[in-house]
């Protein structure tokens, strides 16, 4: 649990993982036309880049140094070469532009598809999954990891392809011009590759330590910033500053060692390039002296050599990008392969005319299997009945709701709606049948109306009708623009009570057969409280309702009260019965069930 954060970076995806490549390509299949276009452009660019020095060479040999020809003819030849040269460079310009756009287009849409399926997949996973994962990590999968893969599509695939092609092209050309000189040059390839791979490995480790230190620094910073008031009040500024400076110094040391590493390796390719030129000058010059090579060819060789090292440099730079993209891809696919442990019923299963009969039968459950929080819970709600669950914090009331919504599956026992096991219902169907009003509410950055309606397709009139019927319109009227008031970040801030009212309205819009209310424990302003009380009275009438109750008024409205303690039902009955019994319930009431005013 504790080493969750950084262990992921240590994982290595091998470049030769064919299965991974196949999956990546699978996602790009719909865009194969784009990819083919990019490859064709690539071929053109490679051809063009190689032709340019060749044109210079023919100009030198055929015109500039051809002293045996009349000057006019030499100039005409030169002009011809120059015109062709001009045409090609303009062509390269447009081709490169198109290639970058096409690849970005493909890459972005592929990533969009991947991001979308990952998001959908995550939303379909069960709660136990989310309990074991940190949200930040999952968000990183959706954002940074996908971004990483996009890098690969746009810059890397094109560079790898272009540069590799160019490298091969240059080698072929060199061999065609002078095989012996070319063979001599070819020994630079394995040397450069070895240096590159060695460097890439060192660099990756180096970046990993830098990233992990930066992550530590940033999380310390964000924690300090959000708790700064407390730190100041407890006089911890100096100690905090020392920790930060230590982290900062650690970061500095790591960046400096990265600079040393790059400082050692970056000049090496340059050195190889100069060494190659020296080799050509010495060996090639000798060939020229022995008339086995023309001077123009020698000059061309020198120019090609410069072109030759550029792709090598590029390849070494992209090597680490590909590595990290592959690692990202592996993490993404791993997540996509995670299956929900809550088995989803495949058959839609029709449930006509829900009566609202709800039965909990011998439930036993623990978030950790050997640490049960519910022991053999059984009770029944008849259609239209209101049952209140009462008990101290940790008695298992909320867990019961979690099981009813199938956020978790019980280790033993079943929950039945109209006699049918909820495990045989589709999750979506179940969650529309059971409407829950939770203490917390997910607020969209939108108007109140949009927040109530969401995707139910309810019209404005319907919403207004529901609100009027439950008297919740009073709450809406208090807001500056009524139903059109923007809420959420940047809009009107809702109080705890108002949030619960919104949650209520949202659920009523969906008209569920069974209502579940988790009453707010936190203080609620009197105004909201009064509205809420009336809304509860109106909407619970004639509907099967289960309430985790904290307010006496709510409890007294219930037909039946179930008192829970330590995951067991300890008492049940009506308010008066239980009070007269003088047991747990009477004590709870005496201890003051609620805390709002």
């Amino acid at each position: 649990m504790m080493d969750f954060g950084y262990s992921e970076e240590g994982r290595q995806a091998s470049l030769g993982d064919l299965q991974l490549w196949r999956r990546i390509l699978g996602f790009s299949a719909p865009y194969k036309v784009g990819l083919i276009v990019a490859v064709v452009i690539s071929l053109f660019i490679t051809w063009a880049t190689l032709t340019l020095p060749y044109l210079v060479q023919t100009a030198i040999d055929g015109s500039i140094t051809a002293s045996q020809l009349p000057n006019v003819e030499r100039l005409a030849g030169l002009t011809g070469n120059a015109l062709l040269y001009g045409a090609i460079i303009v062509g390269v310009f447009f081709a490169t532009f198109c290639q970058i756009l096409v690849l970005e287009w493909v890459g972005q849409w592929v990533m969009h598809g991947l991001r979308q399926s990952l998001f959908n997949h995550l939303l379909s996973l069960d709660l136990p999954f989310f309990n074991t994962r940190r949200t930040g990590q999952l968000v990183t999968r959706l954002t940074n990891d996908i971004q990483n893969m996009n890098e690969m599509f746009t810059s890397v695939i094109v560079t790898l392809f272009n540069e590799f092609l160019r490298l091969m092209g240059i080698l072929v050309l060199l061999f065609w011009m002078n095989p012996r000189l070319a063979a001599l040059m070819a020994i630079f390839v394995p040397i450069a590759l070895l240096i590159t791979i060695f460097f890439a490995q060192l660099a990756r480790e180096c970046f990993r330590t830098i990233r992990s230190q930066l992550a530590k620094l940033n999380s310390f910073l964000s924690e300090t910033l959000s708790g700064i008031g407390i730190l100041q009040l407890f006089g911890r500024q100096e100690a905090t500053r020392h920790i930060f400076e230590d982290l900062s110094a650690g970061y500095l040391q790591r960046t400096l060692s990265q600079i040393r590493l790059f400082g050692t390796f970056m000049p090496l390719t340059e050195f190889l390039s100069s060494a190659a030129v020296a080799l050509i000058l010495w060996y090639g010059g000798g060939e020229v002296l022995q008339k086995r090579l023309t001077l123009g060819e020698l000059v061309a060789f020198i120019s090609y050599m410069r072109l030759f090292f550029q792709p090598l440099r590029e390849l070494s730079q992209k090597y680490s990008v590909v590595q990290s993209a592959m690692a990202s891809a592996e993490r993404i696919f791993q997540l996509l392969d995670t299956k929900s442990t809550i088995a989803q019923s495949q058959t839609p299963g029709t449930m006509p005319d829900i009566q609202g009969h709800l039965e909990f039968r011998h439930l036993r459950f623990g978030y950790e299997p050997d640490n049960p929080v519910l022991h053999d819970i059984s009770f029944t709600l008849r259609p239209g009945q209101t049952v209140a669950l009462v008990g101290t914090t940790g008695s298992g009331k909320t867990t019961l709701v979690n099981l009813l919504l199938r956020f978790y599956d019980p280790q033993e026992g079943r929950i039945l709606i109209d006699g049918r096991d909820i495990a045989t219902l589709q999750l979506k169907k179940l969650r529309t049948l059971v409407g829950v009003i939770l203490q917390d509410v997910f607020i969209l950055q939108d108007t109140l109306l949009a927040n109530i309606v969401m995707d139910t397709g309810c019209g404005r009139e319907q919403v207004e009708a529901i609100l009027t019927r439950t008297s919740m319109d009073r709450f809406v009227r208090k807001l500056p623009h009524g139903l059109d008031t923007p809420i959420g970040d940047g809009g009107t801030e809702l109080s705890t009570g108002e949030k619960q009212l919104l949650s209520f309205a949202r659920v009523l819009c969906r008209n569920p057969a069974i209502l579940v209310l988790d009453e707010a424990t936190a203080a609620i302003d009197t105004e909201s409280e009064n509205i809420l009380e009336q809304a509860i009275a109106d909407s619970f009438h004639g509907r099967t309702s289960l309430v985790i109750a904290h307010r006496l008024s709510t409890i007294r409205r219930a037909d039946h009260i179930i008192v829970m303690a330590h995951g067991r039902i300890v008492e049940q009955g009506s308010h008066e019965e239980l009070l007269n019994r003088g047991g747990h319930y009477a004590l709870l009431v005496a201890m003051d069930l609620q805390n709002g005013n």
């Binding site: 100009a59 303009v90 991001r115 924690e223 910033l225 900062s248 600079i259």
Partner: protein, 603 residues
């Protein structure tokens, strides 16, 4: 996020702070490391010159080959010289990289620590205006921009300048007119890079903004996954995510459009220069004005010029971005806390009994025009004071004022008989234990969290504080007990546990004043009752201020203050208020149902 970037943009167009002031942030680093910088620059310039010399030797070789005046051993000597120079270049390159880029990291660290040290001194008012994310951006983006400008920016600027001057010089030496022709397209590249990269910067800012929207959307959805599922919002949210994602794709394509222009443009301009040299230079060779060796060397110099020309546009952007960031950092480190923090020594005997006297205290947050508290006159001396009132009546604000998170005018608040504005903050705060409404815990062990105010506290004292806050049992139930890590990467605690931990922290400090801002609202009533009943003895002679809406708790205090709309509506003890105050009566009626619990009604 939106407001954040708009602020950024507006600052970018209107920089107000002159560089003469901004440089105070970075100048000390430059001065301190001047030898390092000089050494690095010397190495850099030397590399440039050595690189320029190599083509001279190539030219020598080619010319000699053409004239057939060279022997194989002569060629070998030339090759040897080139290799020797290349080795030298390797060492010098390492030197400048380590010296100059290393310097930029040293500078970055210095500025980072400077910002952090300053931020620790700022008051709540400042943190209300700036979100954590906003401040984090200063540490990441702005520092990175400054570091880049002072590191790679300096290198690129010097390198480009030296290289272009030297290359142009050599070219002019060969043939001035040809030089002019070859350079004709270059200024165009510099201008185009400049224009395009500033456009790119703007479009990229949009991409980043949308990226963080995407991130925030994912985060908020995943963190509330239970709610999403409970309301079957999956498809609905997926649709919204899809829209955000599509917009993000489009913005990326807009960036790609510019990027797609910049890269090939450099190649095009370089090649155009080459075309000029090929045609005109070739003609000159035919006319025997220059030698073939000159021609080849010319081409080599031209290649060398492409990078400096691109760099000029790039450097200009880098410097501008660095300055903008420096400007923002400057604004941060020069922002002053609105709280006076006098540096006077206060002798313990100067302080009368620790407690607060409020006289006509009026306070409003800078963000709103209405005062939250108005004309409050109270005496909060030793004893237990309960504060209650509806949401928004000013209870929390009162607590935050007492612990000096916000500035107040003189004469409104006295502590132990002394004007608070004349007391050093650290001195005042060392007398107060505080439990906030939202408990703030840090990623550390439980013991360290409890011992926040007393880092050297003995374990048994920590345990005693925890036991008093009724959290000891809960802690023992955890696998590593008091050494369990909590927070982001550790064990998650429930709201009630977090609150009790925060209480234990305040109890451990055992300071003369304790302020609890509704700090046990998520703890069940029975536990809360138990905690306070147990502490009552402990509180003897201390000033305790407890904000709560629970009658049960309030009835245990000596003095209850009822706030309404920022003013004292009523004060007195439980019986007094029960007899006189209607709000208190209605709270009581709701919470106490006299038929069920007569014992509390008449304590």
């Amino acid at each position: 996020m939106k407001t954040n970037t708009s602020r950024t943009d507006s600052q970018e167009t209107t920089r107000r702070i002159p560089f003469a002031q901004l440089r105070h942030l970075i100048l000390p680093s430059f001065r301190h490391h001047r030898l390092r910088i000089l050494g690095g620059l010397a190495a850099l310039i030397l590399v440039d010159f050595l690189q320029l010399i190599i083509p001279r030797f190539i030219k020598q070789g080619v010319d000699a080959l053409e004239a057939l005046t060279v022997t194989p051993s002569g060629l070998l000597r030339l090759a040897g010289i080139i290799v020797f120079i290349a080795v030298l270049v390797v060492f010098l390159r390492f030197a400048w990289r380590y010296l100059i880029i290393g310097f930029s990291r040293l500078l970055e660290q210095r500025v980072r620590n400077q910002i952090f040290t300053h931020i620790l001194k700022l008051d709540a008012q400042f943190f209300e205006k700036r979100t954590t994310g906003d401040l984090m951006a200063h540490f990441s983006n702005d520092l990175a921009a400054v570091q880049m400008a002072c590191g790679m920016g300096v290198v690129a600027a010097v390198d480009a300048l030296v290289m272009s001057l030297a290359a142009i010089g050599f070219m002019i030496a060969i043939h001035p007119l040809l030089t002019l022709l070859a350079l004709l397209p270059m200024p165009f590249l510099a201008v185009a890079t400049r224009i395009l990269s500033s456009k790119l910067h703007k479009r990229f800012a949009t991409v980043q903004e949308e990226f963080s929207e995407l991130t925030e959307f994912s985060r908020s959805n995943l963190i509330s996954i239970g709610l999403i599922k409970a309301y079957t919002m999956e498809d609905f949210q997926a649709g919204r995510f899809d829209r955000l994602g599509k917009r993000y794709v489009r913005s990326n394509l807009r960036v790609a459009f510019i990027q797609g222009l910049i890269t090939p443009l450099a190649t095009l301009v370089g090649s155009t220069g080459m075309l000029m040299v090929l045609y005109f230079g070739g003609s000159l060779v035919i006319e025997k004005t220059i030698t073939l060796g000159d021609f080849v060397a010319f081409i080599t110099y031209l290649y060398m010029l492409i990078w400096p020309m691109m760099a000029i546009g790039w450097v200009a952007n880098l410097v501008q971005r660095g300055l903008t960031s420096l400007d923002r950092i400057y604004g941060l480190v020069t922002s002053r806390s609105a709280l006076p923090d006098p540096v006077t020594e206060i002798a313990p005997e100067q302080l009368a009994q620790p407690g607060f006297q409020l006289s006509h205290l009026t306070f409003g947050y800078p963000s709103s025009s209405n005062p939250v508290l108005s004309d409050l006159t109270l005496n909060l001396g030793p004893g237990m004071h309960g504060v209650t009132g509806r949401t928004g009546s000013g209870k929390s604000t009162l607590c935050r004022l007492l612990v000096r998170l916000y500035p107040l005018a003189d004469g409104m608040l006295h502590f132990g008989g002394l004007e608070v504005n004349h007391l050093p903050l650290a001195f005042l705060r060392s007398h107060i234990g505080y439990v906030s409404q939202e408990p703030v815990l840090f990623s550390d062990t439980i013991a360290a969290n409890i011992a926040l105010g007393l880092p050297d506290a003995k374990r048994e004292d920590v345990i005693k504080a925890a036991a008093n806050a009724a959290i000891h049992e809960d802690i023992l139930a955890l696998k590593n007990g008091y050494d369990t890590l909590i927070g982001e990467r550790g064990v998650k605690l429930s709201g009630g546990q977090r609150q009790r931990l925060a209480l234990a922290r305040a109890l451990l400090c055992d300071r003369p004043v304790l302020i609890i801002d509704d700090g046990l609202s998520a703890v069940d009533v029975a536990t809360e009752h138990e905690v306070f009943a147990g502490l009552k003895r402990h509180f003897q002679g201390k000033t305790v201020v407890i904000v709560s809406n629970r009658i049960k708790l309030l009835s245990m205090t000596d003095h209850i203050i009822i706030l309404a709309d920022g003013a004292v509506q009523s004060e007195g003890n439980h019986e007094h208020l029960l007899a006189t105050n209607s709000l208190y009566q209605s709270m009581f009626a709701k919470q106490m149902q006299q038929d069920t619990h007569p014992a509390v009604a008449l304590p």
